[in-house]
Assembly symmetry: C2
């Protein structure tokens, strides 16, 4: 399976070969963007739905004082803006954390998919609910955990999400995010992120260098973070 969206949705529903082909057909209009670019800006009303095929992006808001809060990481298989069917304008922006390959899906094509492919529609709704649950968990993370547990939690989550779409190699995965960006994600300064990372490294829990993350002791990291993956709803069984 090549299409990362199909890969992701398959962890929730069984997609027919026909559904998979359909998803592939949606991804004909693709384009590569450079790292640091902006896919969608707050206030805009995009004309197409963007699907990340390769690379990382993030949802973020800029505040009047120049600070930035990153509110979600988008990885291959993630849709950027299904909101456009309903809402008048984006209430946040989407930026690229790495070079990325992005498919632009027309509103009409997307609409047709939702109407004609109930399995896909259902899985997309599931995906929306998981996004929301993830936001809630991030809120818990920011509100209740110190920087040490907070970073550990983020890394546990991203490892699982990357694994879900088949992009881990053992305990390693690509994490194309600077310490500055990690800070903007966790409500910390990059200085403090740096010091906490050093501690995590010194304790032999992980390695992170040149955008490559390896978790050496996932069990311990989960323990530190109080990580419970239930909010990702990866479990299909009833």
């Amino acid at each position: 399976m090549i299409n990362p969206l199909a890969r992701k949705l398959s962890s929730f529903v069984d997609l027919s070969p026909d559904d998979c082909r359909h998803l592939d057909d949606l991804c004909t209009d693709t384009r590569t963007w450079g790292a640091g670019g902006t896919l969608i800006r707050e206030g805009e009303r995009p004309e197409v739905v963007f699907l990340l095929l390769d690379g990382w992006a993030c949802r973020y808001k800029l505040l009047p004082d120049g600070s930035r809060q990153i509110m979600a990481y988008l990885i291959p298989g993630d849709l950027c803006d299904i909101h456009i069917f309903i809402l008048k304008a984006m209430d946040h922006s989407i930026g690229l954390l790495s070079e990325a390959n992005v498919a632009a899906i027309s509103k009409a094509a997307m609409q047709r998919t939702l109407e004609e492919r109930p399995a896909i529609a259902r899985a997309l709704f599931w995906s929306t609910l998981v996004d929301e649950a993830t936001l809630r968990e991030w809120l818990v993370n920011m509100g209740q955990r110190d920087a040490y547990a907070r970073l550990a939690h983020l890394f546990c989550e991203m490892w699982l999400r990357m694994k879900q779409i088949g992009l881990t190699h053992g305990n390693s995965f690509t994490l194309p995010v600077t310490q500055e960006e990690l800070g903007d994600t966790m409500g910390l300064t990059s200085v403090h992120v740096n010091r906490v990372l050093q501690r995590l490294r010194a304790e032999g829990l992980l390695s992170l260098a040149r955008g490559q993350m390896t978790l050496h002791d996932i069990d311990r990291l989960r323990e530190i973070a109080g990580f419970d993956p239930n909010y990702l709803h990866l479990d299909r069984r009833d």
Copy 2:
């Protein structure tokens, strides 16, 4: 208009009198719960959809160490658990902040509504997206603003949301939330919440006593909070 859900959805779509009647019909099985009760517990799979008709509730998670994070306030017109159509189990709990009147809507009735009432279905999807946008804004709040701005922001938001459903009296509204609960909401201790509230009161910005909140200077509060209501998507105009 009595039904608070109809009231809320009307700020997004024009509901026909028939739609409104339909919503009223959904609210036949109602019950009053005492403050402090738990509507739904994490891990459960509710059999019905709960709709808050009167009173306040909150989404929250309890952590192993006993701390609690409140992730959303639910006010009249809010649905507690549309998730049940898709997800296997609740990933958080819902508790009552005040005495509350709650309608229990059967899954089947809800399903029928979604299928037969496109205007309502569309409005409910809008409502879900607004909930998600609100979570993102809360994340910004926790990550980037200090306790002073954070509380100001929360109060600006709740005033607008209460206004939307017609439950404000001028600049006043019911806020049946203890300082402890405010702390669990904003990732602060109740002690610190207390001190910040005192400052806000001393500056003549608000009064809060016995669950009654009055905002004396909304413009100034918005300024302090950096409050931009765009994320609530209250504006219907294109």
